[in-house]
Amino acid sequence: MAAIIDIAPTNASRPRKATSDSLVSRVLIIGTAVGFMGLMFVLPLVVIFQEAFRKGWEGFVEAFDDRATMHAIWLTLKVAAITVPLNTLFGLAAAWCVSRFQFRGKRLLTSLIELPLWVSPIIAGMVYVLLFGAQGLFGPALKEHGIKIIFALPGIVLSTIFVTFTFVARILAPQMEAQGQAEEEAAMTLGANGFQMFWRVTLPKIKWGLLYGIILCNARSMGEFGAVSVVSGHIRNKTNTVPLHIEVLYNEYQFVPAFAVASMLALLALVTLILKTLTTTRRGAA
C-alpha cells in the first residue's frame, strides 16, 4: 500500500488523501460524465423503444407481420451465419501467429489487420463494386458465367466480412499475449500434438475473450449498414438486410415498424454489452 499523506484538513470533517480530488470536483466530474452519456447514449435508446411501442404492444407485433420484414431478418441471419465463422477462424489464426511468434513485418501485419476498422464502410462496399460490379474488373467475366455477386448475397457477405474483419483478432491477440505461452509449451513438451494443445490448453484459456469477440463480430455483421447499402441494390424481398429495411421503412414514414425492427437490433446491442461486462471479469480471471 502506498503511504497516505494527509493534507491539513480545512473545512472537511475527514482528512482526505493528497491524491484524491475534493468532493465538489468529484461531483462535478461524475455529473458531467453521467450527464453527457445520458444525453448521448441513454436518451437515443429510450427513444427507440418509446417509438417502437407508440401504438402499444399490438402495433409492435404487427410490425413483424410483414413479408419484407421477415425476409430481411432471414437474410441478415444468413449473412451473419457465413461471416462470423469465417472471421472467427481468421481471428484465431491471426491472434495465434501475432501473439506466439516473433517475425519480421509483425508490426506491419498487426497494423494491416486493424486497417478495416478505420476504412469508411462506404469504401468497404465500393471496392467490391469496383471488382465485381457490371463495369468492374471481373464484371464481364462473371456476367458471361451468369454469376451474380453485386446486388446479391455474395456481395453482402464480402462487404460484411470486410467491416467485421478485425474484431476477433483485435480482442484475442492482446489477451493471448498477456497470458503467455508457458502452458502451450508445456503441453507440446509433454507430447501433445498441435490439435490437442489447441483444444485442451489454448481454447480453455481464451474462451471468454473468444466468446466476446464472436458476439461483437455477430452484432456488427447483423447491424452493418453503409457497406451493405453500397453492394445490395436495395431490392425488396431480395437483398434488403435488416438495417437496410429499417431505412426503407423510415423513409416511407412507417415509423412504428421502423423503430420496432430497430429495437430488436438495439436489444442485440444491449445483450452484447451485458455479455462483454460478464466476460471481462472472467477474461481477467482466466
Partner: protein, 274 residues
C-alpha cells in the same frame, strides 16, 4: 541473429492463412480502389478533387469529425477519469454503456438521433426555441460523429489512468503542490499522448461514418453532404473513377490515422514509462 526455432506449432499455417485472407479480402480490393482512381490519370483525379461539391463534402466531413473529436477529448477524459478514479453507484453500468456505439448498428443510432434532434423531437424542440438548428445541419452531423467516436477516447485513456503511478502525485503533494497544480502539471501531461491517440482514433472512425449521419444530416449538396455520401452518389451515377478518387483521399486519411495513433501510443509509453 540465427533463426529462432519455434516450440509451438502452426506458425506457417496461421501466418499463411492470415496473410492470404487479409490479401484476398482487404488488400487486393483496396488496391483496386487506388488503381481505379489513378486509371484516369492525375489530371482527371485533380479535376475530380477540385470540383466545388467534392471540396465542400470533404471539408464538411473532416471539419465535423475534427470538432467531434475535440468534444470527445474533453468529455472522454472526464468520463475515463470518473470511471477509473471514483467509486459511485452505477459506475459499472456507465462503464458498460461506453461501448454502446460499437454494438449499436449505425442505422439504428441514426434514426434515434434524428428523432431526438428533429425540430419536433425532445431535444430538437428545446433547441428550436433557442433558434438552434441541429438536425439537417452540420451541428447534427457533429452530434452523430461525437456519438460514434466517444468510446475510442475513453477506452484508450482508461488503462493509462489505471496504471498511472500514485507515487508521483503523492510526491507532488509532498513538495507542496496543490491538487490543481498536481493535475495540470503532473497528471495531464502524462495522459496527453493517449488522449490525443484516442482523439485520433475517434476522428478516424468519424470521418468515414455513414449510417448514423445520413438520417440526421439532410444530405443537401454543398451544405450537409458528407464525403461518404457523395461517393455513393457517384457510384449510383456509374462514375466509378470519380467515386474511387474521393475514396482514395479518405483511404489516405485512414492510413495517416493508423500511423499517427501508433506514434502517439509510443509517445505515451515513453511518457508513462510503461
Amino acid at each position: 541473429m540465427s533463426r529462432p526455432r519455434h516450440i509451438l506449432p502452426g506458425f506457417k499455417l496461421s501466418l499463411g492463412f492470415t496473410i492470404t485472407y487479409l490479401s484476398l479480402l482487404v488488400l487486393f480490393p483496396l488496391s483496386m480502389l487506388v488503381w481505379k482512381a489513378t486509371s484516369g490519370g492525375w489530371e482527371h483525379m485533380l479535376a475530380t478533387l477540385t470540383q466545388a461539391r467534392v471540396i465542400a463534402s470533404l471539408k464538411l466531413s473532416f471539419g465535423t469529425a475534427f470538432t467531434a473529436a475535440l468534444v470527445n477529448g474533453v468529455f472522454g477524459l472526464l468520463t475515463a477519469w470518473a470511471l477509473e478514479r471514483y467509486n459511485f453507484p452505477g459506475r459499472r453500468l456507465l462503464d458498460a454503456m461506453v461501448d454502446l456505439p460499437f454494438a449499436l448498428p449505425t442505422a439504428v443510432a441514426g434514426i434515434a438521433l434524428v428523432t431526438l434532434y428533429a425540430p419536433n423531437g425532445w431535444i430538437g424542440a428545446w433547441l428550436a426555441q433557442h433558434d438552434i438548428k441541429a438536425a439537417y445541419a452540420p451541428l447534427g452531423i457533429t452530434i452523430a460523429l461525437t456519438f460514434v467516436g466517444f468510446p475510442f477516447v475513453v477506452r484508450t485513456l482508461q488503462p493509462v489512468i489505471a496504471d498511472l503511478s500514485m507515487d508521483v502525485e503523492e510526491a507532488a503533494a509532498c513538495l507542496g503542490a496543490n491538487r490543481w497544480q498536481t493535475l495540470t502539471r503532473i497528471v495531464f501531461p502524462a495522459l496527453l499522448p493517449s488522449m490525443l491517440a484516442g482523439m485520433t482514433l475517434a476522428f478516424g472512425r468519424a470521418v468515414g461514418e455513414y449510417g448514423s449521419v445520413v438520417f440526421i444530416s439532410g444530405n443537401l449538396p454543398f451544405k450537409t453532404e458528407i464525403a461518404p455520401l457523395l461517393i455513393t452518389m457517384r457510384l449510383e451515377e456509374y462514375d466509378y473513377s470519380g467515386a474511387a478518387t474521393i475514396g482514395v483521399v479518405m483511404l489516405a486519411a485512414s492510413f495517416t490515422i493508423l500511423v499517427l495513433s501508433n506514434l502517439l501510443a509510443q509517445w505515451s509509453r515513453k511518457r508513462t514509462g510503461r
